[in-house]
């Protein structure tokens, strides 16, 4: 959790990092940990919410009412003097100003609304958010339905004005001038018997309406910011300075640095500046070259955009290239390393998790969960651990060595090529639930050439002995490559190609492919 918060803070130091917790017994203890992990905001989320896509059982039976979790969280944070450094937020079917005031008195200073504003926009509670058939054009990509959207921002503004007005009126009645004064004032809440039900007899609310007896110095609402220690990062110490010409005016730079494993999230802040200045497309390839020697800490190159190239001579830790967004990452052992690269670990677990674009060339074996949820990166490695390509939705993985088990579980998109030297990959390593396999040699020549040229680039960047070896005897090597293709993805690609052959382009082609699939009952 601390790592994730730190990574995200690096990727955008203007943003507040908000950790959402489910309201349930014990949430207070979890929240205390999250506050120490330096979340800026903690959200205690009540049951009874959820999107229309969530099953009814989850909506009504996951978590507890926000009132319970919020009260517990606020009390725990106060008792540990952590309350003053986080903002406490709550949500879960808040609809009125009265709801907001109660939430505030129970300890929240921020409040989330979803269902009610959605309704003001025209949501009809169809519960088809996941089916692409939302008739009022809110939760759908279908242009025919989006056209039907009749709502507007004004309606939401109007609604929120009403809520605010009611909050003001209630605050005036209670004698509060600001929200901060009101936070956690459970003494202003009293019990009223609304329903005379036999079950109500056993209820004891004193735990919810309890106000911890703490020192007067202990802050009761958020009064200070978390210290995320960003000034100690390699980016703030060195990289940003040296990369300035590139960030400001796109002048190519090359930066040589030593790295040690306490340098976490290297390059991410620089990447954020590039994105801020140059937009989502970043800079031309290789504009900022960062050459690192040593052992890099977690999350090297996380979220980095196009235009950044990391070359690590040494090794890296977990989360290498997490969320990579266009950058290029090369990892190779030092020239004088005595190890056999394709038999030894060079990068940690969960590399390129959730990456959306970019390239990676890793001369060595990576850990478990490689390219999980990858949607766009093209990566070459020489071996990988268990659960590779799990939930992958796009991109390409080329592995020149062994894999662990359960490869391709839940893989719904993208493609992978595995060099299956032992010939047991499909029978012992692959999870076949959603994917099909083909021998590479049965693919068309264009595809075989693409794989070959990718290996050539890998050799060019990393001087990989394994790559060189395969290229030297390509005819024989090619025989041993297996292609892994998700079944549904293949069908959609096929439909898309058909649509394009009919002369459709872009979104129109995608829509046609989508419809063909729906019509076929998928």
């Amino acid at each position: 959790m601390a790592e994730l918060i730190h990574d995200l803070k690096n990727s955008n130091h203007h943003a507040r990092i908000n950790v959402k917790l489910v309201s349930e017994v014990g949430v207070g203890t979890v929240a205390a940990g999250v506050a120490k992990a330096k979340a800026d905001v903690i959200l205690v989320s009540g049951y009874d919410g959820g999107t229309g896509a969530s099953p009814r059982s989850s909506i009504q039976h996951a978590g507890a009412p926000w009132e319970l979790g919020l009260a517990e969280t606020n009390q725990t944070l106060l008792l540990n003097d952590l309350r003053s450094r986080v903002i406490l937020e709550t949500d879960g079917q808040l609809k009125t100003g009265r709801d907001v005031v109660i939430a505030c008195l129970l300890g929240a200073e921020e409040f989330g609304f979803a269902t009610a504003p959605l309704i003001t926009l025209g949501c009809l509670m169809m519960r088809v958010c996941h089916k692409n058939t939302c008739p009022v054009g809110i939760a759908t990509q279908d242009p025919r339905l989006r056209e039907k959207f009749a709502g507007g921002a004004d309606a939401v503004v109007n609604f929120m004005n009403f809520v605010a007005e009611e909050i003001r009126e209630t605050m005036a009645k209670l004698g509060f001038r600001t929200i901060n004064e009101m936070v956690g004032r459970v003494d202003k809440l009293e019990l009223r018997k609304a329903i005379n039900h036999w079950k109500a007899k056993g209820l004891d609310y004193s735990g919810i309406l309890y106000r911890p007896d703490v020192d007067p110095e202990v802050g009761t609402y958020c009064q200070m910011k978390q210290d995320h220690l960003l000034d100690r990062s390699l980016d703030n110490r060195e990289i940003l300075k040296q990369a300035l010409p590139a960030i400001e005016s796109g002048i190519p730079v090359s930066i040589d640095l030593q790295v040690i494993n306490t340098d976490r999230v290297v390059g991410t802040m620089t990447g954020a500046e590039i994105s801020r200045k140059h937009g989502p497309d970043g800079l031309p390839e290789d504009t900022v070259r960062i050459n690192l020697a040593g052992s890099a800490g977690q999350s090297l190159g996380a979220f980095c955009p196009q235009g950044m190239t990391f070359t690590v001579t040494g090794d890296t830790n977990d989360y290498l290239g997490k969320g990579l967004s266009g950058g290029k990452i090369i990892v190779r052992p030092p020239e004088d390393s005595p190890f056999v690269a394709h038999e030894n670990i060079i990068a940690g677990n969960v590399c390129f998790y959730g990456a959306t674009a970019g390239q990676a060339f890793v001369s060595g074996v990576v850990g478990e969960r490689f390219c999980v949820r990858n949607s766009g990166v093209h990566a070459v490695v020489e071996g990988l651990g268990d659960h590779g390509c799990e939930y992958m939705t796009g991109g390409l993985v080329l592995c020149l060595g062994k894999t662990g088990r359960n490869f391709g579980a839940g893989m719904s998109g993208g493609v992978a090529y595995i060099y299956d030297e032992a010939g047991d990959f499909v029978s012992t390593k692959l999870n076949t639930e959603m994917v099909k396999t083909y021998p590479l040699v049965e693919c068309d020549d264009k595809e075989i050439d693409e794989v070959k040229s990718l290996i050539s680039r890998h050799v060019e960047y990393t001087h990989s002995p394994r790559g060189t070896e395969l290229l030297n005897d390509w005819r024989l090597a090619a025989e041993k490559f297996v292609k892994i293709m998700p079944e549904d993805y293949e069908r959609v690609l096929f439909a898309l190609k058909k649509a394009e052959d009919r002369g459709l382009e872009g979104d129109a082609a995608i829509q046609a492919a989508f419809e063909e699939n729906v019509a076929a009952g998928h």
Partner: protein
């Protein structure tokens, strides 16, 4: 739901009507026979909404929104789409005793509140309902289902309109011995002698009556309670009484010339006409009321429409329908949002026919009737009318005559279709029943019990003039409360 994208693929298509010029030549139903595949396709348009407003049966802005008997619409829509007609029929009968009536004459508040209606023409719920039951009868799936055992309790139901029929049906299902008293010569109430044959063929009413009789319900016709039998005798002879006598007192128009020959209540005209059809299988003897005459129908509601359709079939010379309210807008006004009942301009069957024959919609809006004019033999020869405006006076809107708009139109027949005031007084007075401010019998909705122990009231008699579907709703619910009264508990829905 079978088909998430059905509503994107198919357009709304109800069971089509026969062409107006064709259908006015006879008294048969205006619909064409249904096409099974089309109906299944229409079923696929249902979105199986997360919040299906179609079956809510709420009252919004004083109008029904959603099906008042809470038909399980999304369920049978889907079953029809899947071709499971028999299952659909079973689901339909769970909430509706007489889908063959509502499927034909209900104004379908379900469709007014159908969620699809927000963006496109709504699902053809009523057509689907009608198709399910028609197919059920055609396949012989609807057979008498007498109760397995009898409770030994006796209940009298007075009045045999949809409310009385529904109450009788439910009470019989619960095992009570039910006797229905009706003053007319046949069973059915307004289903029979109100709603004309072209909207609901009388064989269809009789078919259901026969079924109920086969299930053990006793029907006694031509017996007016309070006249032929003292009301109090029912209290002695039965364990409980359910009153469903309708709101049969018509609103009059006490203006100059009201007594002239040729001025009738709409119900006189419609009843006589249906009687003619039933007795003689031929109405030529009754055509004289409208044939070759200039007909004026006063009132723009359902009853008015039925007078228009009937007059056209009789071969009237011209037809004019007078309506005091303004013409409704083409689309929902801002103050009439979904899922309220849509108050929009519609061509009902009668107007459609009049338009085909005479070239224009017979309705005149914002028009008031001032005088009936007679000739020297006391026959109606014309009507004096004027335009009005609705003006706010003392906090209420009242009609105010537009100066200089008074004019005369020729008329040899005029039918008053201005609604009904409430139930007749005989039974209420004999039993000492409490009445509400609108003269309806006082019985709280949901309980249906009157101030006399063991006496329940339902339908138009309790709620004032309304709809067949509300009558069924009340009849069913009153039966449930009656059963609870008799047995101390009830398993009726």
């Amino acid at each position: 739901m079978g088909k998430p994208t059905g509503f994107l693929e198919h357009e709304r298509q109800s069971i089509p009507d026969r062409s107006p010029l064709e259908r006015i030549k006879d008294w048969k139903e205006i619909h064409e026979p249904f096409n099974e595949d089309k109906v299944r396709q229409q079923g696929s348009r249902c979105m199986d909404c997360g919040t299906p407003y179609c079956h809510t049966g709420m009252t919004l802005a004083n109008m029904a929104s959603g099906c008042p008997i809470n038909n399980l619409i999304p369920e049978w829509n889907d079953l029809v789409y899947q071709g499971k007609w028999r299952d659909a029929l079973d689901r339909l009968h769970k909430t509706n005793n007489f889908p063959e009536f509502t499927g034909r004459v209900c104004p379908a508040p379900c469709e007014g509140s159908c969620v699809l209606g927000v963006i496109e023409p709504p699902v053809t719920i009523k057509s689907i309902e009608c198709s399910i039951i028609d197919k059920g009868f055609a396949e012989g799936w609807v057979t008498p289902q007498p109760p397995a055992s009898r409770s030994g309790k006796k209940v009298a139901v007075v009045g045999s309109g949809p409310a009385g029929m529904a109450a009788a049906d439910q009470l019989n299902k619960a095992g009570h011995s039910v006797t229905v008293y009706e003053r007319a010569d046949r069973i059915g109430g307004l289903l029979l002698y109100g709603i004309p044959n072209m909207k609901l063929e009388k064989e269809i009413v009789q078919r259901r009556v026969d079924l109920m009789a086969a299930e053990g319900i006793k029907f006694i016709v031509s017996t007016e309670i309070g006249k032929d039998l003292p009301t109090k005798s029912l209290l002695e002879d039965f364990d409980s009484v359910v009153l469903c006598c309708g709101a049969t007192k018509p609103r009059d128009l006490p203006i100059e010339g009201r007594d002239l020959k040729g001025v009738h209540y709409a119900m006189e005209f419609l009843t006589i006409n249906t009687q003619g059809l039933l007795e003689l299988k031929d109405v030529s003897a009754f055509e004289t009321a409208a044939k070759s005459k200039d007909v004026v129908v006063i009132g723009g509601g359902d009853t008015g429409t039925d007078c228009v359709g009937t007059s056209v079939r009789h071969g009237c010379k011209s037809i004019t329908q007078l309506e005091i309210m303004p013409r409704p807008p083409e689309e929902r006004a801002d103050d009439n949002p979904w899922p309220e009942w849509p108050k929009v301009y519609k061509m009902d069957y009668g107007q459609e026919e009049a338009k085909e024959v005479f070239g224009e919609d017979p309705r005149n809006y914002l028009t008031m009737t001032k005088k009936f004019l007679g000739d020297d033999r006391g026959n109606l020869k014309g009507v004096t009318i004027c335009d009005i405006e609705w003006k706010m006076e003392d906090g209420r809107y009242s009609p105010v005559e537009v100066q200089g708009s008074e004019r005369e139109i020729p008329a040899q027949a005029a039918f008053l279709a201005m609604g009904f005031l409430g139930p007749e007084d005989t039974i209420a007075e004999e039993l000492g029943l409490e009445r509400d401010s609108r003269s309806n019998v006082q019985a709280e909705y949901g309980r249906f019990s009157t101030n006399i122990e063991g006496v329940f009231a339902a339908g138009d008699m309790r709620r004032g003039q309304s709809l067949v579907v509300w009558a069924i709703n009340e009849g069913r619910a009153a039966a449930r409360e009656c059963d609870r009264y008799l047995m101390g508990e009830t398993s009726l829905p």
